[in-house]
Symmetry: C3
Subunit: 416 residues, 3 copies
Amino acid sequence: MTKTAGCCQGCLHYVFDYETPKTLVIPSIRVGFVFRFTQFLVVLYVVGYVCVVQKAYQETDSVLSTVTTKVKGFAFTNTSDADPRFWDVADYVVPPQVSNIRFVFTANTHKLNLPNPSTSCVDDCDCIEGYSDPRGNGILTGLCENYSTTVKTCEVISWCPLEIDTKLPEHALLAAAENFTVLIKNSITYPKFNVHRRNILPHINSSYLKRCEFNRTTDPDCPIFRLKHIVSEAGEEFQDMAVKGGILGIIIDWSCDLDWWARKCNPQYSFRRLDNKNPANNVAPGFNFRFAKYYKTPDGEETRTLIKAYGIRFDVVVHGTAGKFGIVPTVVNLGAALTFLSLVPVVADWVMLTCMGKRDLYKKHKITHLNEVADTETVSDKLNVFTRDYQGLIFSIFPFSSRLFFCQTADKIHSF
Amino acid sequence: MTKTAGCCQGCLHYVFDYETPKTLVIPSIRVGFVFRFTQFLVVLYVVGYVCVVQKAYQETDSVLSTVTTKVKGFAFTNTSDADPRFWDVADYVVPPQVSNIRFVFTANTHKLNLPNPSTSCVDDCDCIEGYSDPRGNGILTGLCENYSTTVKTCEVISWCPLEIDTKLPEHALLAAAENFTVLIKNSITYPKFNVHRRNILPHINSSYLKRCEFNRTTDPDCPIFRLKHIVSEAGEEFQDMAVKGGILGIIIDWSCDLDWWARKCNPQYSFRRLDNKNPANNVAPGFNFRFAKYYKTPDGEETRTLIKAYGIRFDVVVHGTAGKFGIVPTVVNLGAALTFLSLVPVVADWVMLTCMGKRDLYKKHKITHLNEVADTETVSDKLNVFTRDYQGLIFSIFPFSSRLFFCQTADKIHSF
Amino acid sequence: MTKTAGCCQGCLHYVFDYETPKTLVIPSIRVGFVFRFTQFLVVLYVVGYVCVVQKAYQETDSVLSTVTTKVKGFAFTNTSDADPRFWDVADYVVPPQVSNIRFVFTANTHKLNLPNPSTSCVDDCDCIEGYSDPRGNGILTGLCENYSTTVKTCEVISWCPLEIDTKLPEHALLAAAENFTVLIKNSITYPKFNVHRRNILPHINSSYLKRCEFNRTTDPDCPIFRLKHIVSEAGEEFQDMAVKGGILGIIIDWSCDLDWWARKCNPQYSFRRLDNKNPANNVAPGFNFRFAKYYKTPDGEETRTLIKAYGIRFDVVVHGTAGKFGIVPTVVNLGAALTFLSLVPVVADWVMLTCMGKRDLYKKHKITHLNEVADTETVSDKLNVFTRDYQGLIFSIFPFSSRLFFCQTADKIHSF
């Protein structure tokens, strides 16, 4: 034949001849049962666990969120260390419009220096001018003044009167705050799936929104929360927490299943105290900060009212993951499952060639042993049977167990 | 031979003998074509979809971002309910430096109580002293006063004059705001890949930044936005939105492909209204908040100006995912694809043993049937042919279709 | 036999007969070695890289975080353009309680209009009344006034005196700020694993917290940072940065390994300047913003002090990923690895049938060639040997290399 013809024929054969393994059918119920049962386990795992429980066929996206809050409530305070005062939202929420809430109370101020170790002195030499301890009260002037008949302290430059930081409040100024309500408006987006939701659900109408209040059992969808309710759901006592302050998380979970057969995507509210209140490690507890209101006296001098605000900060934490059927994760997980199905014959063969009574018969027909010298095929001996064929795969599962097999076979040798 | 020698030889055989399946070559163009075509489909999926479309060979990281904004613009207001006033950025942006912008207008206040159902009364008994409705106007004093000649209302403690919340503004105070501009500086980081970018791209110089203004077609990279432009791109009318207020998202998408052959990592700007304006569910629309400025009168009494600010809040939402070639995802996806390639022979064999004319010939040479009783190999009969070999894999793909095959084979029996 | 009996028997055979491939054992050390060595490489990759390095057996979750900061420190300023003043936290931190810090300084103001190109004019016609350039100084009144003997400028409505924006500060007002300290309290949550941590570690007690200061070597766990230290760790000079302002990231990395044998989940602090300071692209550098304090004069007129604040903004950026053993990722990665193990025989067979001396012998015994015409099995010829069996898998790995094999075989043909 010509080269071309030969070439073409070669190509045809090369491309389109089909090679398939020769197989042997073994009509043994027990082997078959082992085979089917192992298959069943794998399929059970894939269908039951991967698909149903883990939803591994979904590709996921994480949430983008925007939050606005609006507090409502009034309080009237009449304490010894401050004038009678009426408080509304503009007074006790600082800053006005970020999604955090705080209840503030004016720190009571005193008109004298503090005797604390760092500033007590004998004479001026003890007071380095200009030095300031960040944890102290101000900048030293370098003078050592009589603080009382007994104690002399370094004079400091500071706002006057000096604030007393050591005296903690023993009761919350705005006890009425526990009845305040907060409306939380939360809009979320899953950009990958182009899904937009808000926590004011479609079935909520204005009239309901005017009177409702969140309750896990009766009103789980109402976005209006009574502060006392929030704190108590977090396992805290409002009045205790309000005194020293703290951070309370309003956690909104937007986990969504966007597949057309599921279609559930509603917010789940939960509440947790975010600052540590662990008695074993109760370091730097509570929450407070200072801010000032500035005034000008008629003669133009600037004055300020320093406010040390103890209060509860409410952090709205929005998280969640949306899942939707995706080709790639499905194929990947299916592929992994199929791979394990391809391990099933390994188990079945191992049983067949080691535990069955007719194993020698099976070996004889299944495995041919090439005798290189005489160019003849001989029935495989006991030694070389089950290990070789599946060593590859077994090896990959228990990479370090080969020694085990090894000795096993070594023992077998003795019985020659 | 000695035990040791035997053992060593056994080990050598055990470890280094190589077992390979016996195969049968079938020179049928049609079977070969089915085999190659199925292969082609799988490869097409892997190369085309997984690699090119889904980029499944990449490992991903999500963005860390920091944003600063700077607004510029002036307005002059001269309305009936407020003194003529000049506004600059320090006046209308609250708070000064967070990445949100707001336009505020002073709420007009009136000097009388409100007659609303909750506070209308007949005599003092209707007014519980100290009670306060969070949605009301203040704390009841317990007195029932004449509000007008016809209506009596409970007296409340509150800031005076009382704010009228029911009367919504009919026009935006700062109509000029639509021509304000905002400069957005955004720096992002992909910590896993140690990549840092900013939205002021390298090719932008100071002179360009001084005169440019964002425009999707002409200036897509300019980080300076005219507010009217933003709102209109979001499909809203600025003046309408400014009256009742709202939240507008400036969404910056930093999706990056960091592979050396792609190297594209630029921000994409888009604009969307984040608060719900759905007419079907128009509950709690718009956006507004209250804040106060505090003054001291010469005689030391504290006064305040309550400002109820309706305005547009601009939320800068930064999101994005960076992808870069990674070994693990590549191997996982490649592995899954290979697994499906290992399914191709199943299809080919099924075709060969059921649809081909010479199927009986193929069966005879491919499959040997072990006859346990007579210890002889017989050619497999029609019944047991195609099901067994591939049941395993087919089973795993359609776990519940075995009954189907079952009846099929049962029918076959009748035709014996 | 009856139909039923036949059917049942058929079913039994159908379900429980077990089919296994016939195999040939080749006692060749070299082939075996290639086989085992390739296996070893794959196992090495799986165990070493996937499991140990990449921890691909873990499922991951990303962090939820809440942060509070508290600054401490004092400063006293006595400059030409402002009255002597004492500063404490309430004065220089704006806003009071968000997790950003800023150092502000009062902009010095002048009592005259600015001559800049946009507002210089010849007569009133050049000044369009009501027009305002967002980048200008105010709204034009339409009058052209003498700014100096030589220059005439358009009169603008604006707050008086006019701020001079062009003159940058040449030194930081609060030089003492570099010794301020900031306490960062950070609580994190991994919702999927229900793990809560805070950056004040259990072994930290109150006394240590009172005196400690972060130092990478001596006090790596102390959550109190000296500002100068932070800035220098970011590779910046505090005084330089304080003048023009900037944004400095305090990056807390909470990467956790939650498996019971690892159990490490501590914060790692790092510091980086977030605003661009790249000399090649130094556009819009630094960070500053304006805000105002409002006062009422005794006669009720509203005045303000405009403050243009240059300063360092500290952004606390919390990120991290927690990993914990998960079934699905383990199975997926194991499956992928097993698939590659199933490729090992391909390599071994290829070697055996092409590189070995006895390849013809091996082929003869391994591969049977079906002769459809004569219904006989003949030993496969050289041409069709090695390609077919593994074409499937090789094809999938190098989808475009088939031509290579092709020519190779074509050449072989010539040698017939």
